[in-house]
């Protein structure tokens, strides 16, 4: 189906919902095709091809929501579903905090989100990509058993609402991941690497297998450590998960509902001076980029944390209207979420940050984020190493960290000047002082 026909069907459904008694309505429709090749034991295991089309309809009556999602895009089906959504909205309790859906706004194009070359990536090409990655891993560790996959997706979507929003977009995505497992007797080392892009020119899987295998080799011989209070350095992937969690914790709904650990902290200092985070949906070809959010509101680069101060929350139309603030363009599938989380870089290279640690942990990958409600951290060090006298020495296992989230943010004393770069993503390393580490060694 063409984007124009899809939009026309979405608009017809909006009209039907309003005709059936909804105060206002919104329809998102999408069609796409995805292909995957999965690898197991270092050889191709299976291929998958998915052809999908469907729509999601939201109708509002006195603020109450009726939402219907369905597979299929024919107009009659959408119109019937829209009427059903309107009926559900009328049955729902009213919500006086709901004011209105957004009206139409100019949405500047974000370049590089669709690459027709990805349409033509077939199963054989994906098999080639993932098998090259497997070979790269085996060049480092011939005994590695690799699991992984390569995936490509292209789709078209339309968004309409009863206030006149009428938008279409095309998107493409290609990604691959590989996980080499190296087993030597009872000793096991493994790691995971990935690459992803919206356009072929940004996709580079060549280093992925080798990097994963090198880290997996380093994790062989991991052992237990003693408990203590240590400095920890989060590598780019682990730090990225913390930054993402912080951005997600700035979503306004959880603040307005009183369930966020950062509630009431807007405008106050929540982290050390070295922490600055922006969200930017307009980065060309960014993995999280979008010309408009899921309600049709364009986004812009926006600071979330500036020198440790929480300066902005992320809003959809509901929360922005409730708070009486401008839209920020962060609606995502009925909820709220960041686009591209971009931390500000520091002044010291990651190797120097590590070199300054006498005894600590280097954490390569893992989720060490504060709980979204309580703000407490109680997490495993899944892929971590001991730092001794400024050098990474050996892998650790059966190790956990525990800390209060505010203490953790206040104790971030360094953000690296260098970073891993992926489309739309900037991933520096960070150091956190005085972290309580539970080790499995007596």
């Amino acid at each position: 189906m063409t984007a124009e026909k899809m939009l026309a069907a979405a608009q017809a459904a909006c009209e039907a919902a309003v005709g059936a008694g909804a105060d206002m309505a919104e329809v998102r429709a999408a069609e796409g095709r995805g292909t995957s090749v999965r690898v197991e034991r270092s050889a191709v295991d299976a291929t998958e091809s998915r052809s999908t089309r469907g729509a999601s309809i939201r109708a509002f009556s006195r603020g109450g929501l009726g939402s219907v999602s369905l597979d299929g895009l024919d107009v009659d089906t959408l119109v019937a579903a829209a009427k059903q959504a309107a009926e559900m909205a009328r049955s729902a309790a009213s919500d006086r905090d709901f004011k209105t859906l957004p009206g139409p706004s100019p949405c500047p194009e974000v370049a590089g989100l669709y690459d027709p070359r990805i349409e033509n990536v077939g199963v054989d090409a994906l098999a080639g990509i993932i098998m090259e990655s497997v070979q790269a891993a085996k060049n480092v560790a011939p005994d590695a058993l690799c699991t992984g996959s390569a995936d490509a997706y292209c789709g078209v979507s339309a968004l309409a609402n009863s206030l006149g929003v009428a938008l279409t977009a095309r998107s493409s995505h290609i990604s691959a991941w590989v996980q080499p497992v190296i087993r030597r007797g009872d000793d096991v080392g493994s790691f995971y690497e990935w690459d992803a892009a919206c356009r072929m020119a940004d996709f580079d899987h060549r280093q992925m297998g080798a990097t994963a295998a090198e880290t997996a080799v380093c994790l062989l011989g991991s052992g237990k450590i003693e408990s203590g209070v240590l400095s920890i350095v989060l590598g780019p992937l682990a730090a990225n998960s913390v930054f993402h969690a912080l951005a997600a914790s700035a979503e306004a709904e959880s603040h307005q509902r009183g369930r966020s650990w950062l509630q009431g902290r807007l405008g106050t200092k929540i982290a050390s001076d070295v922490v600055t985070i922006h969200d930017d949906p307009s980065i060309p070809a960014g993995l999280g980029s979008r010309p408009y959010d899921s309600e049709g509101v364009p986004g812009r680069r926006m600071a979330i944390i500036e020198n440790g101060v929480l300066v902005n929350l992320l809003h959809n139309s509901y929360t922005a209207n409730k708070a009486g603030v401008p839209y920020t363009g962060h609606a995502r599938g009925g909820g709220i979420g960041p686009a591209n989380v971009v931390p500000a870089l520091g002044t010291i290279p990651a190797r120097d940050i590590i070199a300054q640690v006498d005894r600590g942990l280097y954490i390569n990958m893992g989720s060490l984020s504060p709980d979204g409600t309580t703000g407490e951290v109680s997490a495993s060090v899944d892929f971590g190493f001991l730092i001794e006298n400024g050098e990474i020495t050996r892998g650790v296992q059966s190790t956990m960290i525990g800390m209060n989230g505010f203490e953790m943010l206040a104790n971030i004393d360094a953000v690296s000047s260098d970073a891993r770069v992926e489309p739309g993503m900037l991933m520096p390393s960070i150091r956190i002082q005085d972290v309580r580490v539970a080790g499995g060694s007596a």
Partner: protein
């Protein structure tokens, strides 16, 4: 639907596939979200689509399409065959499937009241009553209350080249409440979920004292709990979190696709003693009405009771048709697919530790300083290393053989083989009360988990302060 799938199967065989499986999934789901006293969000989701999996010259191909038309089904079959052909050169050994007897059957899960026949106003009325009971129990400390009700009807139709033609219908109902309590800077959350294969009677019979009042009491109680200790301790698991330990520490490693792929620490250990004789672990897809039960898996093999650990020895794994053929085992009905867009993957159903003989008092009395965990929240495992993490809803310190002060925000971690070997007491009680969704390979499947109280001699506790 069966006719369409049989045509696709026959066409696949005609085009040279040695095995063909055509599957359709129809699903209708309704959800109501009541937040802070207002049921102001109603959701409905319908799913209908077709998936075709072929084995051609020893290579797998799978493709799916929205809807249930012959034209699009044939296009999906073409794509599946093309995928298999395109990867022939990159495959190092031929894929195989074990043969199972053909089954032609139609089954439907039991319910008393079809949720689809109940007016939404009645559902909202019951939710509001439950919410009010919880609110009253919250001592004015609850700052956010979310109740979520869901019902779903699913019909999965599987036809394969063994001659099987299975129609399985499942009616599932669930109710979840998540309450947040606050006192000054301390904010705590409690979560209670009820979910099973039954009808609207689940909501009608829900006792607030076991649901919203329980969540309110827990959330408020956690406000005065202390932060968890950091270090290595003896740990007792309440039955409400034993299931999480079982699922994460052992269950995923006993999925035979991990063993075949070389990513399970159980590879090559069949028959070995991994734990004390106290420990027996079962995955049982036949528990009546349980959230994780099913009649047939998505490959058309009957769901079964599988003993994974028997008196401490590794006794079996969960198998799909392929992993059974690869390892010389019998298929035991573990190949499950979430939707028509997904190929079957080896999955758990209802996984639990069988009851033993110990009492909680006996478990406690030997512990000078330890941790008692309650309420499984979430967990994960890296199967290849057998390294797992479980997060609890809360717990208590154990001091001098007795439960002492409550604790909050606590996770524990361990290595699977070491932890199994360290289980030194298994309780005589039993609960199968962790109905949830398990994620694997991008698919989310309904599972349940449980067991009795168990004691682990030593585990790492990731707390925020000293004991």
């Amino acid at each position: 639907m069966k006719d369409l799938l049989e045509k696709l199967r026959d066409e696949g065989i005609k085009r040279g596939a040695s095995f063909v499986e055509a599957r359709a999934n129809e699903r209708a789901m309704n959800n109501i979200v009541l937040q802070d006293g207002r049921a102001d969000k109603l959701y409905q989701r319908s799913i209908l689509g077709t998936g075709v999996r072929v084995l051609l010259d020893g290579c797998w191909g799978f493709a799916s399409c929205t809807g249930a038309s012959l034209d699009e089904g044939l296009a999906a079959l073409d794509a599946a065959l093309a995928g298999a052909r395109a990867t022939r050169a990159a495959r190092d050994e031929e894929a195989v499937v074990a043969t199972v007897p053909a089954a032609v059957d139609e089954r439907a899960s039991a319910f008393e009241t079809d949720p689809r026949s109940v007016p939404v106003a009645r559902k909202m009325e019951l939710l509001e009553k439950l919410d009010q009971a919880g609110f009253a129990k919250g001592q004015g400390r609850l700052v956010n209350r979310i109740l979520s009700y869901g019902d779903s009807f699913q019909r999965e139709t599987t036809v394969n080249s063994f001659g099987s033609a299975i129609v399985s219908e499942y009616t599932r109902t669930s109710a979840t409440c998540t309450f947040v309590a606050q006192d000054g800077d301390v904010r705590q959350e409690a979560y209670v979920r009820k979910a099973s294969q039954e009808g609207f009677e689940l909501l009608e019979r829900l006792d607030p004292s076991d649901f919203t009042e329980e969540a309110a009491s827990r959330a408020v109680g956690l406000l005065t709990a202390r932060r968890a200790p950091s270090g290595t301790f003896p740990v007792i698991f309440h039955p409400s979190i034993t299931g999480l330990l079982t699922h994460e520490a052992l269950g995923h490693n006993a999925e035979a696709d991990h063993v075949v792929a070389g990513t399970s620490i159980l590879a090559g250990k069949m028959g070995e003693a991994l734990a004390s004789e106290l420990l027996t672990i079962v995955d049982d897809a036949t528990v009546p009405g349980s959230w994780g039960s099913y009649f047939y898996d998505s490959e058309g093999t009957p769901g079964q009771r599988r003993i994974i650990i028997e008196n401490g020895r590794l006794a079996g794994l969960m198998h799909s048709l392929e992993t059974a053929a690869r390892t010389g085992a019998a298929p035991n009905g573990s190949g499950r697919a979430q939707e028509y867009t997904d190929r079957p993957v080896v999955r758990m159903s209802n996984t639990f530790i069988a009851p033993g003989a110990s009492s909680l008092q006996n478990m406690l009395k030997d512990i000078d300083l330890g941790v008692y965990l309650n309420g499984g929240h979430w967990g994960y495992v890296f199967c290849e290393r057998g390294q797992f993490t479980c997060h609890a809803g809360g717990g208590w310190m154990i001091r001098n053989g007795e439960l002492a002060e409550p604790i909050r925000d606590v996770s524990v971690a361990g290595m699977t083989l070491e932890t199994l070997a360290n289980i030194d007491a298994v309780g005589s009680d039993f609960e199968l009360t962790m109905p949830g969704m398990c994620g694997k390979c991008g698919q989310s499947m309904p599972v349940n988990a449980g067991g009795p109280h168990v004691r682990v001699r030593q585990m790492v506790v990731g707390g925020q302060q000293e004991a």
